[in-house]
């Protein structure tokens, strides 16, 4: 009994400390200024002379995870782009399967096997820093790929999709499609991820300009169609009227659509533009409404091009920013491939570079 009491005391003390501990935020992801700053950083020229190498290049890819379609396509795009550059002799790929300890070991193994550059998307940005420092100290070029901009000495460059503009494109077109009126819900990605943080911040910012619109609930669907559907079913029970759903991720939008459909309330719903997920574009083609904002899939290929530029001493900017575009429903519908599965993206990849 005494031991149980001690445990409980210890736990409460720790919890007390924990809640009072301050969390250092490097960049405030909810402010537009952060993204303007990032764009400024990105456009600065990069001194590539110290990385110049002669001879064949070996590119290492440390994937934090390979378990979703977007990431898979990015990985394949990297392989394809590398095949277009004769200087690149070999591409070595490792997968950490959401395990940051494994990612650290993966990068160490890549360093051991000799690479000139490491392209990566981290399981966790902070957890990968110690091993990135090792890579940087050995003179290896490190390039971060994806939606998060890493501003650290250990990261040589970023191939980046500007989340703020991306979310802004979705939100403004969404508000327009509702004529600036109505009760809306938000379906966001994994809670705590930078994507979720920025999408909510942008939505709230845009909604300030539309006083007749109200955000009645934000849900975290984890980029999971089934979870989005389940959460939407619960929302439909709680709220008798939902006019619109803000969901930039097409995969989750499909779950929302199905929930409304099965509840017989599809007429109420206006969905925000989604992305270029094939399941979503098929839906757009079928319904004839609700457009898309491209998701920046070219970012993998840009990363490879950037790596080559740096390693051959060519002039380039500190980061490559891949633009996103809003597509009207008619244009978005063109992106769909009816004979391909939902979990797919339309790309220019030749057949041998498509997944499996």
């Amino acid at each position: 009994m005494r031991k149980k009491l001690l445990t409980m005391m210890a736990a409460t003390m720790v919890a007390g400390f924990a809640t009072s501990a301050s969390i250092a935020q490097d960049m405030d992801l909810t402010k537009k200024e952060t993204y303007d700053q990032i764009t400024t950083w990105a456009n600065e020229p990069l001194d590539t002379s110290k990385y110049k190498k002669d001879g064949d290049l070996t590119i290492g890819v440390s994937a934090g995870y390979l378990s979703n379609a977007w990431i898979n396509f990015t990985g394949q795009a990297i392989k394809y782009e590398a095949s277009l550059h004769p200087e690149i002799k070999e591409v070595k790929i490792t997968d950490a399967a959401f395990n940051p300890t494994k990612q650290a070991a993966d990068i160490e193994d890549l360093l051991t096997s000799g690479v000139d550059a490491i392209l990566f998307w981290p399981v966790d940005e902070k957890a990968i820093l110690p091993v990135l420092k090792k890579a940087h100290d050995q003179g290896v070029v490190t390039i971060n790929i994806g939606y998060n901009y890493m501003h650290d000495d250990a990261v040589t460059s970023n191939a980046y999709v500007n989340q703020w503009t991306y979310a802004e494109q979705v939100a403004t077109n969404f508000a327009k499609s509702l004529d600036g009126k109505g009760k809306v819900v938000a379906m966001l990605p994994i809670a705590g991820s930078s994507a979720a943080v920025v999408q909510l911040a942008v939505l709230q910012e845009v909604l300030k300009g539309y006083p007749e619109m109200e955000l009645i609930s934000s849900e975290y669907g984890d980029w999971d169609r089934a979870k989005a559907k389940q959460l939407t079913e619960n929302l439909l029970q709680r709220f008798p009227q939902i006019d619109g759903a803000f969901s930039p991720a097409g995969q989750m939008s499909m779950g929302i659509y199905e929930a409304f459909d099965e509840a017989g309330r599809l007429d109420e719903l206006t969905l925000s533009p989604g992305d270029d997920y094939n399941g979503w574009t098929k839906l757009v083609a079928k319904e004839g409404k609700w457009g898309s904002v491209t998701s920046g899939l070219e970012v993998g290929r840009e990363a490879v091009k950037q790596a080559v530029k740096i390693l051959t001493g060519q002039p380039t900017t500190t980061a490559v920013v891949v633009p996103t575009r809003y597509l009207e429903p008619a244009e978005a519908a063109k992106l769909h491939e009816a004979d391909r599965p939902d979990d797919w993206f339309k790309t220019d990849l030749p057949a041998e570079f498509l997944p499996q």
Binding site: S67, I71, N72, A226, P341, D342
Partner: protein, 328 residues
């Protein structure tokens, strides 16, 4: 008057108390939930809840048999994922492939289950570790087979029919769950297989000496578990469509919690599919209640863990009092 008659009466009461326990908990929980939010008293909400629980419920029916046998099947999550992926790929969007896809999924599940059963029965190894290892292998195979993106397209009508409601009220998936439970109850009480499972679980050595084909029954039990997991994968596919290669991830925790709640503990020999069904309902109402009450997702994990511990302890306490034997 000797103590024998009263202890005899006590021994009679306690097993029925054990079986009734989970149903009592269910009613109490439902009342509590209703106090928290009157949505719980709406038929639509409840049927939707049960519909969400269908994949786990169906898989749990199969796992019940394995646990009655003092085993465990932790590969259900991976098998559910695999069956959903296989079904979608075989269906390939064509209406003619509908039943082929369903059969393929069930067959895959049964095959993995049989593999589990063979290794456990003849290798005499820990079911826990083996099925965990198998779940990794199955997950890896699915990833290899699909290249990491979910393939396949569901046949037209599959999703619509299964997600529909009969008479606008009763979801088809709920009927599927009830049918699975009915089959499970039939298996456990009306077939020799079912009776053997109970006997072996209660006392493996005695069963072996009595000449029961323990190894064969073990293999069949695991195959049954895999089969139901395959069906659970179909239910999941109907609800979620083709959207990922690992939709069943983490399901084994929920399934295990439901089975243990329902009275079938790791000790084996006691419990059954009826209890499992009640356990599934209790689990989902509890988790939904946590959601409605605004508890963070993290709390759900803790609740699941506490449920597993508390339910196991309670059921085995009742079991000890009923039969007078000491644990371990």
């Amino acid at each position: 008057m000797s103590a024998a008659p009263s202890s005899h009466q006590a021994a009679l009461r306690l097993p029925s108390l054990d079986r009734a326990a989970v149903w009592i908990v269910l009613v109490v929980l439902l009342l509590l939930a209703g106090l928290a939010s009157d949505a719980f008293f709406k038929l639509n909400y409840l049927t939707n809840l049960v519909r969400q629980a269908a994949p786990i419920g169906i898989a749990a029916v199969g796992v019940t048999f394995v646990m009655l046998l003092r085993g465990v099947d932790l590969s259900v999550g991976a098998v559910v994922s695999m069956s959903a992926v296989v079904c979608a790929i075989v269906m390939d969007g064509k209406p003619g492939n509908l039943w082929l896809g369903i059969a393929a999924a069930a067959a895959c599940g049964a095959a993995i289950g049989a593999a589990n059963g063979l290794l456990i029965a003849f290798g005499k190894v820990s079911a826990f570790i083996l099925t965990l290892g198998m779940s990794i292998v199955v997950y890896g195979l699915v990833q290899m087979g699909t290249g990491g993106t979910a393939r396949g397209i569901v046949s037209p009508g599959f999703r619509e029919v299964l997600n529909g409601r009969i008479g606008g009220v009763l979801p088809v998936l709920v009927i599927c769950l009830l049918v699975a439970v009915a089959i499970g109850i039939f298996l456990q009480s009306r077939t020799r297989f079912g009776r053997s499972v109970y006997l072996i679980g209660a006392n493996p050595e005695a069963a072996r000496l009595a000449g029961l084909p323990v190894n064969r029954i073990t293999v069949i039990a695991y195959a049954v578990s895999g089969f139901f997991a395959g069906l659970g994968g179909l239910a999941l596919l109907a609800r979620t469509g083709v959207s990922g290669t690992n939709p069943g991830a983490g399901m084994e925790f929920d399934v295990l919690a439901a089975v243990v709640l329902g009275g079938t503990t790791f000790a084996g020999g006691r419990g059954g599919v009826g209890g499992t069904f009640a356990g599934v309902l209790v689990l989902f109402i509890a988790l939904n209640l946590a959601n409605v009450a605004g508890l963070p997702f993290a709390a759900q994990l803790t609740i699941k863990g506490l449920i597993i511990i508390a339910a196991s302890a309670a059921h085995s306490w009742i079991g000890r009092r009923a039969s007078g034997r000491t644990q371990q």
